[in-house]
């Protein structure tokens, strides 16, 4: 254990800073926009008949009263006018005054109000980002069209993303291939401190994987199947914790009536589903104190529709996805982002007999950093997961049938 780990020095009775979230009331149509924003889309409604694009979200086309459908749109825009808000009755924005916003003419057609990047003024070309605010609702953010407008570096932009630089991150399983790749990626992305959880070693060779050369990485025993181990881990962490990434899972092949192994199934649930709950429960009180708290879960895309050859894993991942959505709902009120990375089979020892395509752990780790810095709620990594999500969104009943023929 290194001495570099930051420990918060504070009187436990000192008044904690209360964190607020932006106004959360939305129409159902706006929630549909938020669901698309969470998946990284820049989607607006378009009329199925007259093809006009409309905003704010409506329930019927304002030009011909035909049906509207969501569709990805061009991200370009021009800033028409701007203001700096210096007075508000809302507690969240009051904490963040002054706040710059403006009106933009979207290349897609409509005009919209948007948060403004510090580098933008009236007349400028902008690139629009559809982001999620701290309350989990879609928001339009106008960034400079040229160059790379790093959201975490912008004073307003950082409210919509999860910066990694200088933050403290816990990786729940730092022993498996994905966990190790992630520790490396977080270190490279400038994380201030990475805590690698180490589940109990299953074999002598595992002990080799307990060494992390980077000085800002620290390892700590963490067994998600044991509530006491989870409590002890967080008691040792003590200090500020910004991001938790749950890399733990238990992958074994096996069906139900054929090649069934109830012990494997039970362990898959104990680590994947109940382990998620133990981890989330312990992490929540620490995350809600942080300005940009986030919890990211790496899920198997088999959680959407099962792979009958991995029945236990599929079922535990489905349960885990369900728990994640409940946790996301709870954390919205506290401004903590709860996100999911969906992956197909990973290129590791758990999927030795699974044919390609498989996603490399390093790729998964890289995409997870991108998800954080874009403030996304969901991202599919690798061809397998992208294809699975596409099919599932299109026709879930068909997908679960065709997946196992």
């Amino acid at each position: 254990m290194t001495a570099r780990f930051r420990r918060e020095k504070r009187d436990p009775l000192a008044r904690a800073v209360e964190r607020h979230v932006p106004p959360g009331l939305r129409s159902r149509a706006m929630r549909a926009m938020s669901a698309r924003a969470g998946q990284g889309h820049f989607a607006l409604q378009r009329c199925l008949e007259c093809r006009a694009v409309t905003y704010p979200p409506r329930d019927i086309c304002p030009h011909c009263w035909s049906e509207l459908a969501w569709e990805d749109q061009a991200r370009g825009a021009v800033v028409l006018s701007e203001t700096t808000i210096r007075v508000t009755t809302d507690l969240y924005f009051r904490d963040h005054l002054p706040w710059r916003m403006g009106k933009v003419a979207l290349d897609a057609g409509p005009v919209a109000l948007a948060h403004l990047h510090a580098g933008l003024k009236a007349g400028d070309r902008a690139e629009m980002k559809l982001v999620l605010d701290k309350g989990g609702n879609a928001a339009l953010f106008a960034a400079p069209a040229a160059g790379d407008p790093a959201m975490p570096a912008d004073v307003q932009g950082r409210e919509f993303v999860v910066p990694v630089k200088d933050r403290t991150v816990l990786v729940s399983d730092g022993r498996n291939a994905v966990g190790r790749a992630l520790v490396e990626a977080l270190t490279a992305a400038g994380a201030g401190c990475v805590v690698a959880g180490l589940p109990p070693p299953a074999r002598p060779a595992d002990a080799k994987g307990e060494q992390f050369p980077a000085p800002m990485v620290r390892s700590v025993p963490l067994d998600l199947t044991d509530s006491r181990s989870v409590s002890e881990c967080f008691a040792r962490l003590g200090g500020p914790l910004d991001i938790v990434v749950n890399t733990a899972r238990f992958v074994r092949p096996g069906g139900i009536s054929r090649s069934a192994n109830l012990i494997d199934q039970k362990k898959a649930f104990d680590i994947g589903a109940l382990g998620f709950s133990r981890l989330a429960q312990a992490a929540a009180p620490l995350l809600v104190r942080r300005p940009c708290g986030a919890f990211v879960d790496i899920l198997s895309v088999h959680g959407l529709a099962p792979d009958a050859g991995f029945a236990g894993l599929s079922a535990s991942e489905a349960a885990r996805y369900s728990l994640l959505q409940s946790f996301r709902h709870e954390m919205r009120a506290a401004g903590v982002r709860v996100s999911a990375i969906f992956a197909g089979p990973t290129d590791d020892e758990d999927h030795q007999s699974v044919p390609l395509p498989k996603v490399a752990p390093a790729r998964l780790a890289g995409e997870l950093i991108k998800l954080l810095e874009a403030g996304q709620e969901q991202r599919c990594v690798g061809d397998f997961a992208v294809d699975a999500m596409d099919r599932w969104l299109d026709d879930p009943a068909l997908y679960s049938r065709e997946k196992n023929v």
């Binding site: 106004p23 939305r26 979200p57 304002p62 203001t83 808000i85 009755t89 924005f93």
Partner: protein, 388 residues
């Protein structure tokens, strides 16, 4: 378009203003009742009112229906007007047709709103679907932010300076000086205006109205009934109303008045030069400037030059918002959309709250209401003239 019928055999009379309070423990129902009592002071009994037209933002969960039972009225004609700043002119023109056609004889038009400590935030929070979805999440600046965006664009489009808006605010404050009911009567200098703190750039403190509690009311009836009660009244020469005009304009630089301005003056049979007093809706000075243009008092784009060349005080070239307007008298919710009617009526009836515009006979009254999303949706205007 067919020619519109004139408003024959209709008068508007009995302007009532229930003195405003910055904050009130009372409900909108109480303020409405006070206004009705003011109307009844002209000699009408509660059972005489056979028409009731109501506007309020703070009467929830009640509408005009709940208010009728709360107040013990039994009208044969009822209307609820949700258009805020445009509600006074709209109440007037609806009531006028009801009386003219015989659906009602004596219509009480009332706007009343209370203002508790947290009312402003609560009313904003539930104001409209587009606001909750696409405006408030962007800094929650309320109408200040929306009008800041309009003001910013308007200033750049037409070369208007803050000083120009300041001249309007300073003149209105002078007018408020003689109005004992105005919440702000202390002199405001152009320097005070320019040095005031920014609220949402370029909107500064004195560009904003002060929310308060209050009520306004008037009666629309027949000349015969008014004469029997010895009530002086004004006839309605013309009215217009328009909603969601120019939806294709990316930023609101003109209002619905511009669509109907010719119809207004044609029906009135007079022009802007014949107006003795202008009661224009003044939630923000940029909207006053827009009305000067869109109602034909000056050319589009020339508001700055017109403001620099015109004296808007009570004894000036174009007496404007003679009670001080909402910017000085306070904005009592929907009553802010009625005070232009009651003040215009008082001036032509020569019974003002404060100073009298010399020889006033014709008043132009203009309303502007409801920022549903990025602009005011409802516009209305009326020309009234004293019956003498």
């Amino acid at each position: 378009m067919r020619a519109r019928a004139s408003y024959d055999d209709v008068v508007v009379c009995a302007p009532v203003t229930v003195p405003y309070e910055r904050f009130s423990r009372r409900s909108a129902h109480w303020w409405t009742g006070k206004a009705m009592r003011g109307l009844a002071a002209t000699g009408f009994k509660p059972s005489d009112f056979d028409g009731f037209c109501f506007a309020s933002f703070s009467a929830a969960p009640d509408s005009a229906v709940g208010m009728v039972q709360h107040l013990g009225l039994t009208p044969r004609w009822l209307d609820h007007i949700p258009t805020g700043g445009a509600s006074g002119v709209m109440a007037l023109r609806r009531a006028a047709r009801a009386v003219q056609c015989g659906d009602a004889d004596i219509v009480a038009c009332v706007a009343a709103d209370t203002n508790h400590l947290d009312s402003y935030r609560q009313i904003l929070t539930g104001f409209s679907r587009f606001s909750q979805d696409a405006v408030y999440p962007y800094g929650f600046g309320g109408p200040n932010a929306t009008f800041a965006l309009i003001t910013d664009q308007y200033m750049r489009a037409y070369g208007v300076e803050r000083e120009d808006f300041g001249r309007l605010c300073v003149a209105q404050r002078r007018n408020a000086g003689s109005n004992p009911l105005a919440l702000h009567r202390k002199e405001l200098t152009l320097d005070d205006y320019l040095r005031s703190r920014a609220i949402c750039d370029p909107v500064h403190l004195y560009d904003c109205v002060m929310p308060c509690a209050g009520a306004e009311a008037f009666i629309v009836t027949t000349p015969e009934i008014a004469a029997r009660r010895n009530l002086p009244g004004a006839r309605v020469r013309a009215t217009i109303e328009r909603h969601n005009a120019y939806p294709e304009d990316p930023v609101q630089l003109r209002g619905g008045w511009a669509v109907d301005v010719d119809a207004l003056w044609t029906m009135a049979g007079i022009g802007p030069d014949d107006v003795d007093v202008l009661e224009a809706y003044d939630d923000y000075p940029v909207i006053v400037a827009m009305q000067l243009e869109d109602l034909g008092f000056c050319e589009k784009g020339s508001a700055a030059a017109f403001i620099r060349a015109t004296n808007f005080e009570i004894d000036g070239d174009l007496p404007l918002n003679t009670n001080g307007g909402q910017l000085s008298a306070g904005q009592a919710g929907a009553a802010g959309g009625f005070q232009n009617v009651t003040e215009g009526l008082r001036q032509v009836l020569r019974k003002p709250l404060g100073a009298q515009v010399p020889d006033a006979s014709v008043a132009a009254i203009s309303g502007f209401g409801l920022v549903n999303y990025d602009r005011g949706v409802c516009t209305a205007a009326a020309i009234i003239e004293a019956c003498r």
